[in-house]
Symmetry: C2
Subunit: 143 residues, 2 copies
Amino acid sequence: MTDDDFDLSRFLPYALNQAAEATSIGFQGYYRQRYGMLRTEWRVLFHLGRYGAMTAKGICERASLHKTKVSRAVHALEQKRFLVRTTQERDRRHETLSLTRQGEGVYADLFQAAKAYDAKLSENFSETEREILNRCLEKISKL
Amino acid sequence: MTDDDFDLSRFLPYALNQAAEATSIGFQGYYRQRYGMLRTEWRVLFHLGRYGAMTAKGICERASLHKTKVSRAVHALEQKRFLVRTTQERDRRHETLSLTRQGEGVYADLFQAAKAYDAKLSENFSETEREILNRCLEKISKL
DNA sequence: AGATATTAGTTTGATTTGTAACTAACAACA
DNA sequence: TGTTGTTAGTTACAAATCAAACTAATATCT
């Protein structure tokens, strides 16, 4: 590749970041306006809704989020009454996080919205493109 | 698609964001440690190095960056003596930004580093994958 | 000319994030 | 039992971001 061909739009970190921002906007608007949630909050909620009750540590690992971020998101979701904490008797350092009835409702709504949003985005691609895109992104995330 | 298939890792905004973060880390380390630069500063520098002198507005448009971000990055790069401003006589609201000799040097170094980094990332993909990935990301960015 | 609207860029204050130090509970081992 | 180490989670302070208000220069319209 000559220098002339190498453009920001072909630089993977840049291209990925631009694409990530472009796709985030739409969905972000949804959970922000509707539930006053931040991105990390949505991710934490999603993990609890999708995989069931777990500790903050568990969420950190699954979601590759730093513990301070999770700590703050959990606090915010607790304020909103979307989740509750239960200290484990066996080891009182651990607290199990679980969604409240209300939290489940919000999760269900956001889950549907996410699916719909994703489907809409997918309209722009062929089956093959979408598959390869997914595969590439997965590979990259594991680097 | 059933609900069981829909996972965060298949939700495009999430997958893109994870991939973007994963690839950013390596390169970010380079310009941070070496030149104490922030991401926006690197982008502004790149635009000036790649496309020649232009106004802050021009950079905003090309890079889809908000003007306050650009304003701060320009200030920081000016402090570092990587660029200078020249107020245009025709319209004194505009200022032309151009790289200094030193700025050109830094750009050249970062440009090479970016190319090398990108080449290394590309090793993980076939020609086809890389082409499709690029095409998809470009499409998404224009949505 | 004078009033009003735009435009380029900066500043400010509130929100968000990142880093590192901290607390509390438990474990391991002398 | 006491000392040292580790782990889960929080807090505090600095750095970065965002939105909105602001300044200064120019354009437009009467």
